[in-house]
């Protein structure tokens, strides 16, 4: 039985540390559901819809953190040739993509009852959508069917420019919108003052989503590291595996 458990231990991206982290993340997510959906009151203006923000706002924050990690990782890789940082950049870009999609979808769901439409050409929405496209561009380069060195080097250039691009896009979109209308739509939404249990629920949201982000990042990093090792060892091993599988079935 012990050998069985041991084997499981080796053949995965998990470790004792991530297991503890994972359990903590699960507990925090359960607490978030409890506070966000049950204990916290409905908002005076927004009603029940405010509960979407407990997952929406923290997701946006970790998405931005992921983007910064991508740019930092790409910069360190280009500067020091650090494989480790390159993998951090790749792993956090993929996770940032997941969270950016979540932000967009939950934001649209929040917008429907609040504004009456799923989408408005608001500065924040538009720049988040552009951020998703920029991330998809990075991932497309990183996953190119090309030589390892080619892939990582080119992706690092794209990743390095990710945050500057986001800043410029945000600035331009903000000017673009404010020329036509003041961004009043969000003023009675996120900006409204929150306190008591609602604030605490949002706080739980930050912790829970943050833990999930950390857990995902470690696992995704290890997966990327394994892929890297496999790349390095050449395709022969993988081909041999496939052959063995084919022969067995």
């Amino acid at each position: 039985m012990t050998t069985e458990a041991h084997r499981q231990d080796i053949d995965s991206t998990g470790s004792n540390g991530t297991r503890v982290l994972g359990i903590a993340a699960l507990i925090a997510m359960a607490a978030l559901a409890l506070f966000g959906l049950v204990l916290s009151p409905a908002d005076a203006n927004q009603g029940e819809v405010v509960r979407i923000l407990y997952v929406h706002v923290p997701s946006a924050t970790v998405a931005y953190i992921g983007c910064f990690l991508t740019t930092i990782g790409s910069a360190v890789y280009l500067w020091r040739r650090s494989r480790w940082w390159e993998l951090v950049a790749y792993a956090s870009a993929e996770i940032a993509t997941v969270f950016t999609s979540i932000v967009l979808v939950t934001g649209m769901i929040w917008g429907r009852p609040t504004w009456g439409v799923y989408w408005v050409w608001d500065a924040r929405l538009t720049s988040t959508a552009m951020l998703l496209l920029l991330l998809l561009g990075y991932l497309a380069v990183r996953r190119l069917p090309a030589d390892h060195e080619v892939r990582t080097r080119r992706a690092a250039i794209v990743g390095l420019l990710l945050v500057p691009n986001v800043i410029i896009v945000r600035q331009s979109v903000q000017w673009w919108r404010t020329l036509h209308q003041k961004p009043t739509l969000l003023a009675n939404g996120v900006g409204a003052k929150i306190e008591g249990l609602m604030l605490f629920s949002l706080f739980v949201g930050f912790i829970a989503i943050g833990l999930v982000f950390a857990w995902l990042l470690i696992h995704r990093f290890r997966l990327a590291w394994l892929e890297d090792q496999l790349d390095e060892a050449g395709l022969d091993v993988a081909i041999a595996e496939r052959r063995a599988e084919g022969a067995a079935s």
Binding site: D9, I10, D11, S12, T13, G14, S15, N16, G17, T18, M29, A33, G36, L37, A42, G47, E48, V49, R51, I52, V55, H56, S59, I95, V98, S101, I102, V105, T106, I109, W110, R112, P113, V212, W215, L216, H219, R220, R222, L223, W225, L226, E227, Q229, L230, A233, V237, A238, E241
Partner: protein, 45 residues
């Protein structure tokens, strides 16, 4: 107001669902790929 619970439920299901799905996919791929890499090349565990 009761109608808005639908939006809340949809958003939360999407968040929990996509995170769980992504986590499961990452773990599954990690399991399948780590059998192909010799244990001494994995620095954790």
């Amino acid at each position: 107001m009761s109608g808005n619970w639908g939006y809340v439920a949809a958003a939360w299901v999407i968040v929990f669902g996509s995170l769980a799905g992504y986590a499961a996919r990452t773990i599954r791929r990690g399991r399948s790929i780590s059998t192909q890499v010799p244990p001494e090349r994995r620095r954790w565990s």
